[in-house]
C-alpha cells in the first residue's frame, strides 16, 4: 500500500486522501479545532521540505515526507536544496471568478452568457488565488504552476469559514468544526462517541447550553456546557463537534475593494461576532490568549491595529482567519464598539520564493559585438556603466604602456550615440547644451557638458556636425538611455521639428590610440586622417567607418564608429595589421589610469549630485552669454553663492590611496578622493578629489591616508596636449 513518512513513521493512505485525512485515519491528529478547509492554522507541517503547509490541502503522494513543526517553536530554515519549481502561465481575460461554489458558478455562467472571457479559480480544484493586485492582476497557484491572470474585473466568491471555538481546552485534539466532521463521516472515519455544540452536522444533535470548556489530556475527553441558570454539564466524548457560525473569507475582497472588485455569496455575509471569549487561545498562530488581550487592553492598547501589533494576534500563518472574530468580539466587549477588521494584504495563500519568482529575471546587461573577442583574449569581464565590458586582459600595466608608447585598441562601442536632423536641429542643440553650437562647422566636433535644470552636470560627450541640419551626438556609456529620454523630452516640449535616432546599440566603436595609431590606420586604408577634433567618413579595412579624431587617453587617438555587424572583422583586421607594432587591446582598468593622468573627469565617478561646472573647474564649457540653455538660470543662481568645494588634482609620492579615501586638512575632514592611480609615466600617484575651500581659498596641500598630497594642476601628463594633437 502507498505510504508517506510522518514524523519518522510510515503512514498508509488511500488514493485521493489529503495528508490530514490519512493521519486521522491512522489516529495521529494535531491539536486544535480542525476545519479541513484550509482556514485554520492547526494542521501546518513541513511537507517535502516546505514548512507552513496545511496538511488538509495536500494530497498524499507515495514516499512524501511530512514533519510536524516543533512544539512551541519554529521550523528550521531550509537549505534550499529541494527542486520545487513552478512554471509560469500568463493569461488574459475579462473576468476572473474566485471560488466555484454556488454563487461563484452563477457569476461565471452569467458572464459567459454575456460573451465575456471568464477564468474561474477554485481551491477545491487545486487553484488557490494568492492575491488581487492593481492592473487588475490575479495571482494564483494551480496545477499548471503559478498563474498570473490579467483581467478587467474580479468576482470574489470564496465563501465563508467556520468560527473556531475559544475556551479552555480548545487546543486539544479530537475537536472538529461541523463541516470537518461532515467531511470525515463522508470519508468513513469512525468518530466514536460524538458530542456536538452549536449547529451540528446533519445526523447529529447538539447538547444544550453554552460551551464552557473542553476537558482531556492531549485529546478531548469531555465537553462542558453551562445552562442559562449557570449549571455546568460534562458530556464525555471521543470527538467534539462545534458549529459556531460563519465569518466571510473576504481577505481577497478587502485587499482589493477600491479596485472595483465585487464579492458575492457567503464571502459577502456580515461577519458573525461570537460571544466574547473568557479564556483560552484566541490566536493559535501566535499563541495569544484572551487574558493576554485583556492585559494589553488594560494598558491602553485599544485600537485593533495596536492590539494586533502588541500581541501579534493575527500576524501568523492564517492571517487572522481564526482570531479576527474573537478579537473583534473581545475588543467590543472591552470598549463598547465593534472595530473594523484589521487590514488584509497579499498574499492570502502562502507561496514560496521559488514559486513566486517563476518567470522573474535579473537585470540584463547588454554586450557589445566584440564581447566574444574579449573573452577569447582572456579578458576579465565586468559590469560597467550598465554593460559587460573588459576590465583587463590580464596585464593592465602592459596595456597601459602599449597606449603610451605604441598603439592599442579599445572597445568603446558602449558610448551613447545619437543622430539628430531636421529644420530645428541646430536650435534644439543650442538650447540643450551650455556651449555655442552654431559655430561648429561640418566635419568638426566639440566637447560638451549636459546640465540639468538645477545646473548640475548630468553627462558629457561630443557634438559633431555633419551638415547644416545633420548632427551626431555622443554621451557616456551609462547615460545613453537617459540622453535619449532627455533629448526627446525637450524636443517635444519645445515643439521643434527634428528627427532623432538613438544609435547606441547599432554602432560599434573602436578606439585606436597611441603614438603609432596613425601608422596602424594607414596600413588599413586611412590615408587622410581628420585633424584633431575633426571627423570624416572612411573605409578602414574595407569597412565603412566614421573616424573621429579626439583623445581620452592623452595619446594620438581615433575612434572608428561602424555598423556592429562589422565590429569583429574590423577588430581582427586591426589586430592583424598591428601585430608587428606590438598592438594589444586595453581594458577599462588601463583606460581609467590613462585618462586620469590627463585629468579627464568621469561623470558619475568624479562628479557628484551637486556638481556645477564651477565646482568641476569646467566653467570653460559654459557660455553664459548665450541667450538660453538648460541650466542657465540655475548656473547664474548658484554662481551667486560662495564657492565651497572644487574638484582638484592632487599628486603624492608612493602608492595610490584607494578611491574614496578621506582628504584631511590640518586634521579636519576636507573632502575625498574620487579617482586615484599610480602614474607610471610621471612616477607618482595622481588623484582627483573634492576639496573644500577654507576662507575662500583652496588648500595647497592635504593629508591622505596619513601621507602628504600636493594640490596640483591637471593634466598631470602632457599638459599642453601635444601628444594628442600630434
Amino acid at each position: 500500500m502507498a505510504a508517506f513518512t510522518f514524523d519518522g513513521s510510515s503512514v498508509p493512505f488511500d488514493s485521493g486522501d489529503s495528508v490530514l485525512l490519512a493521519l486521522r485515519k491512522a489516529g495521529t491528529i494535531p491539536g486544535g479545532t480542525l476545519c479541513f478547509a484550509g482556514d485554520c492554522p492547526h494542521c501546518v507541517a513541513t511537507v517535502d521540505g516546505v514548512s507552513y503547509v496545511r496538511m488538509c490541502q495536500v494530497s498524499c503522494r507515495d514516499g512524501m515526507t511530512v514533519e510536524p513543526h516543533p512544539v512551541g517553536g519554529a521550523p528550521p530554515l531550509p537549505d534550499g536544496t529541494t527542486a520545487h519549481t513552478a512554471p509560469l502561465q500568463i493569461r488574459h481575460c475579462d473576468l476572473v471568478v474566485i471560488g466555484q461554489g454556488e454563487s461563484g458558478s452563477a457569476a461565471a455562467a452569467e458572464a459567459i452568457a454575456r460573451g465575456r472571457r471568464v477564468i474561474t479559480l477554485d481551491s477545491k480544484q487545486g487553484a488557490d488565488a494568492i492575491g488581487i493586485y492593481a492592473g487588475l492582476t490575479v495571482l494564483a497557484r494551480s496545477q499548471y504552476g503559478l498563474e498570473r491572470i490579467h483581467c478587467d474585473d474580479v468576482v470574489v466568491a470564496t465563501g465563508a469559514a467556520e468560527i473556531q471555538p475559544v475556551c479552555t481546552g480548545s487546543d486539544l485534539s479530537g475537536i472538529y468544526t461541523a463541516r470537518a466532521a461532515e467531511y470525515l463521516l463522508a470519508h468513513g472515519v469512525d468518530l466514536g462517541t460524538v458530542v456536538a455544540v452549536g449547529d451540528p452536522p446533519p445526523g447529529h444533535a447538539s447538547v444544550s447550553g453554552q460551551l464552557v470548556r473542553f476537558e482531556g489530556e492531549g485529546r478531548v475527553a469531555a465537553v462542558v456546557t453551562r445552562d442559562w441558570d449557570g449549571t455546568e454539564h460534562t458530556h464525555p466524548c471521543d470527538t467534539a463537534i462545534v458549529g459556531l457560525g460563519l465569518h466571510p473569507r473576504d481577505a481577497l475582497f478587502r485587499m482589493a475593494r477600491d479596485l472595483g472588485v465585487t464579492v458575492v455569496g457567503d464571502a459577502a455575509i456580515d461577519a458573525t461576532i461570537p460571544p466574547p471569549p473568557q479564556a483560552g487561545t484566541i490566536c493559535p498562530c501566535a499563541n495569544v490568549t484572551a487574558d493576554d488581550v485583556k492585559n494589553v487592553w488594560d494598558r491602553g492598547f485599544h485600537e485593533m491595529e495596536l492590539m494586533k501589533r502588541a500581541t501579534l494576534a493575527g500576524t501568523g500563518t492564517c492571517q487572522g482567519m481564526a482570531c479576527l472574530p474573537h478579537l473583534r468580539s473581545l475588543l467590543a466587549d472591552l470598549g463598547g464598539t465593534v472595530q473594523p477588521p484589521f487590514t488584509a494584504r497579499p498574499v492570502t495563500k502562502q507561496i514560496t520564493f521559488g514559486e513566486i519568482s517563476a518567470g522573474a529575471h535579473l537585470r540584463a546587461y547588454p554586450r557589445t559585438a566584440l564581447d566574444g573577442e574579449h573573452r577569447r583574449l582572456g579578458a576579465e569581464m565586468d559590469r560597467i556603466g550598465g554593460w559587460w565590458r573588459p576590465w583587463t586582459y590580464g596585464d593592465t600595466e602592459g596595456e597601459y604602456w602599449a597606449v603610451r608608447n605604441g598603439v592599442s585598441i579599445g572597445d568603446v562601442s558602449t558610448l551613447g550615440k545619437m543622430i539628430v536632423t531636421g529644420p530645428d536641429s541646430a536650435e534644439l542643440l543650442e538650447r540643450l547644451y551650455p556651449t555655442r553650437i552654431a559655430g561648429i562647422k561640418p566635419g568638426r566636433s566639440k566637447y560638451v557638458l549636459i546640465l540639468d535644470e538645477r545646473g548640475y552636470v548630468l553627462d558629457d560627450g561630443l557634438v559633431c556636425r555633419d551638415g547644416e541640419y545633420e548632427w551626431f551626438l555622443t554621451f557616456t556609456s551609462s547615460g545613453a538611455t537617459f540622453a535619449e529620454m532627455w533629448v526627446r523630452d525637450w524636443a517635444e516640449s519645445w515643439e521643434l521639428d527634428v528627427r532623432i535616432l538613438n544609435r547606441t546599440m547599432s554602432l560599434g566603436a573602436i578606439n585606436v590610440t597611441g603614438p603609432h595609431a596613425k601608422e596602424l590606420l594607414e596600413r588599413v586604408g586611412l590615408s587622410d586622417p581628420p585633424s584633431y577634433m575633426g571627423h570624416a567618413s572612411a573605409q578602414i579595412a574595407g569597412i565603412d567607418c566614421r573616424v573621429f579624431r579626439l583623445s581620452f587617453t592623452g595619446e594620438l587617438s581615433f575612434e572608428l564608429h561602424h555598423a556592429i555587424a562589422d565590429s569583429v572583422e574590423l577588430w581582427r583586421a586591426l589586430l592583424d595589421a598591428g601585430a608587428d607594432l606590438d598592438l594589444r587591446p586595453h581594458g577599462i582598468d588601463a583606460l581609467l589610469k590613462l585618462r586620469l593622468e590627463k585629468g579627464h573627469i568621469l561623470v558619475g565617478q568624479d562628479s557628484d549630485f551637486d556638481s556645477t561646472p564651477r565646482r568641476l573647474h569646467h566653467e570653460w564649457a559654459v557660455d553664459l552669454s548665450k541667450e538660453f540653455f538648460v541650466g542657465k538660470a540655475a548656473t547664474i543662481r548658484t554662481n551667486k553663492a560662495p564657492l565651497n568645494k572644487q574638484l582638484v588634482g592632487l599628486t603624492m609620492d608612493g602608492p595610490a590611496p584607494h578611491e574614496g579615501a578621506v582628504i584631511w586638512s590640518d586634521g579636519d575632514y576636507n573632502g575625498y578622493v574620487t579617482s586615484s592611480t599610480w602614474s607610471p609615466v610621471t612616477e607618482q600617484s595622481v588623484l582627483l578629489g573634492w576639496l573644500h575651500l577654507r576662507n575662500g581659498e583652496l588648500p595647497t596641500e592635504a593629508t591622505i591616508e596619513e601621507r602628504r598630497a600636493i594640490v596640483s594642476p591637471v593634466p598631470f601628463y602632457d599638459p599642453d596636449g601635444g601628444r594628442a594633437r600630434a
Binding site: S51, Y52, V53, P70, G73, A74, P75, P76, L77, P78, G80, T82, G131, Y133, A134, T137, V288, D291, D292, N295, V296, R299, G300, E305, L306, R309, A310, T311, L312, T315, G316, T317, Q319, R345, P346, V347, Q350, I351, T352, F353, G354, I356, S357, G359, A360, H361, L362, D382, R383, I384, D608, F609, T612, T638, A641, H658, E659, G660, V662, Y672
Partner: protein, 402 residues
C-alpha cells in the same frame, strides 16, 4: 502567551486641550521622539501630539527596522552614528524591550565599481566614528554562512562593506517606548485626531485646526510622513519632497539562524531575520510618486528572485505578507529638518527610506531646537534653505534602500 506580547508599556490617553506650548503633527516615531526628548531632556511637557490614525501607524509601522550609520557623507555619518548610540541605550533608558539587536550589516558588491564604492563607504564611515570595514569573500562567508558567493554563477560576490554596529529593533516597540515615556511625563498624545488646517496670524503659524476645533500652539512641528507637502502648503510653504511607495514583505517565522543584515546594491535587496524569526525583505522605492499603500506583485516576484540569487535557501520559504509604506524623498536623499522660514512652523521630513533609523536622533535634535530656538550643529546641514544656498547634501551612499 507568546514571548513577544508587550508586557510593560502603559499608554495614558488624555482629552485634548485648547492650547499647548508645542503641537506635534504626526504620532509616528519622529513625532513621539520629539515629544519624548522635549519632556525628558528639556522638561517641556505641555505638548500635544496629533495623530490622524493610530500611533506608529504610518511609516514607523511599515518599515524594515534596520538601524545603521554607514552613510556616504560626513554630515550623515555623524548624525546616524548618534542615532545608533541613542538606540543602543534606549532599552536601558526607558526600561522597555525594543528588541534591539546589533547584528552587523553586510553590503555586498559584485563589480569593480561597487568595490570602489564600498571601500569609499568604509573610509568615510571610519573617519566619523562609524565602524565599517571592507571585507573579502572568505570573511563574508564566515559572517553569513548561508550565502552563495558565486551568486548563482551570475552575480559573484567580490566583497562587501561590513558595518559592525548595524542593528535592528522592533519598530512598534520603539514607538511605544517613546510614547509611554512622553505620556508618563505629561505629554498628550491623541489618536484619530487629524489636523485639517493650520491657524495663521499673518505669516505666523499659531496652531492647528482639528474636527473638534482649533488648538493653539507656541510652535507647530510637522512630523508627518507621506503628507508633509499637503500640511506645509497650509502654511504657504513649498517643499522639495516627492512621496514614493516602498514595498517589503515577510515570510513565516523560522528558527533563528540568519544572524546578519544582508544587502546588495547591484541586486537591490536587503534582508534580515526578525526577532520572531521571519525573513524580512525589501528593495528600492517605486519610481513614480504615489500615496497608494497598495502592494504589487512585480516587486514580490523580482525581489524574491534577486534575493534567491545570493541566498538559495530562500527557495522553499513561504511568504506570509507584503506591505507598502510611503516615503518622502528629498532631491539629495537627505532629511530636511528645522526651521522653514515660516514663523512657528518647523518640519522634520525627507526621511525617505531611512526614517526609522533616525528616530531617536531626529527627536533629540528637534527637541533641542524647539527648547533653545537655536538649530543644533548636528542638523544644521539638513536645513530646508540648503537648496537655495546651493548646499545640497550629495549623499549617494544613502541612496541605498534601507
Amino acid at each position: 502567551m507568546n514571548e513577544f506580547i508587550e508586557a510593560k508599556v502603559a499608554l495614558q490617553w488624555q482629552q485634548p486641550k485648547a492650547a499647548y506650548d508645542v503641537v506635534i503633527v504626526g504620532g509616528g516615531g519622529h513625532g513621539l521622539a520629539t515629544a519624548y526628548y522635549l519632556a525628558t531632556r528639556h522638561g517641556i511637557t505641555n505638548v500635544g501630539v496629533f495623530e490622524r490614525s493610530y500611533i506608529g501607524g504610518g511609516n514607523s509601522g511599515r518599515n524594515t527596522t534596520v538601524i545603521r550609520a554607514n552613510y556616504g557623507i560626513p554630515e550623515a555619518v555623524r548624525f546616524y552614528q548618534r542615532s545608533l548610540e541613542l538606540f543602543a541605550s534606549l532599552e536601558d533608558e526607558t526600561d522597555r524591550w525594543i528588541m534591539h539587536n546589533q547584528k552587523g550589516l553586510l553590503w555586498m558588491t559584485h563589480t569593480e565599481h561597487g568595490m570602489r564604492a564600498e571601500k569609499a563607504r568604509a573610509a568615510v564611515n571610519t573617519a566619523f566614528g562609524a565602524k565599517t570595514r571592507y571585507v573579502e569573500p572568505e570573511e563574508i562567508k564566515e559572517i553569513c554562512p548561508q550565502i552563495d558567493l558565486s551568486g548563482g554563477g551570475k552575480f559573484p560576490v567580490l566583497g562587501a562593506s561590513y558595518h559592525e554596529e548595524g542593528a535592528t529593533a522592533r519598530h512598534d516597540r520603539v514607538v511605544w517606548a517613546l510614547a509611554e515615556g512622553a505620556m508618563h511625563r505629561g505629554v498628550h498624545v491623541h489618536q484619530r485626531a487629524p489636523v485639517t488646517g493650520l491657524l495663521r496670524d499673518g505669516d505666523r503659524v499659531t496652531g492647528i485646526e482639528t474636527p473638534d476645533g482649533p488648538v493653539s500652539a507656541g510652535v507647530v512641528v510637522s512630523a508627518v510622513g507621506g503628507h508633509v507637502t499637503t500640511l506645509a502648503s497650509m502654511a504657504g510653504l513649498r517643499l522639495p519632497i516627492r512621496s514614493h511607495p516602498l514595498q517589503a514583505f515577510v515570510t513565516n517565522h523560522y528558527a533563528q539562524a540568519f544572524d546578519a543584515i544582508a544587502a546588495s546594491t547591484d541586486l537591490l535587496f536587503y534582508m534580515s531575520q526578525t526577532a520572531r524569526g521571519e525573513m524580512l525583505l525589501g528593495a528600492e522605492i517605486d519610481r513614480q510618486p504615489s500615496y497608494s499603500y497598495r502592494s504589487g506583485h512585480h516587486f514580490l516576484e523580482s525581489c524574491a528572485h534577486r534575493a534567491m540569487t545570493l541566498f538559495p535557501f530562500l527557495r522553499d520559504l513561504r511568504i506570509l505578507r507584503q506591505w507598502t509604506g510611503i516615503c518622502d524623498m528629498s532631491p539629495d536623499y537627505s532629511p530636511i529638518m528645522g526651521k522653514t522660514g515660516v514663523d512657528g512652523f518647523l518640519v522634520t521630513t525627507g526621511w525617505g527610506t531611512w526614517g526609522f533609523k533616525a528616530i531617536p536622533v531626529g527627536g533629540e535634535q528637534m527637541a533641542q531646537l524647539i527648547a533653545t530656538d537655536k538649530t543644533p550643529e548636528l542638523i544644521a546641514p539638513f536645513s530646508l534653505d540648503r537648496f537655495a544656498r546651493d548646499r545640497t547634501l550629495a549623499d549617494r551612499g544613502s541612496a541605498g534602500t534601507h
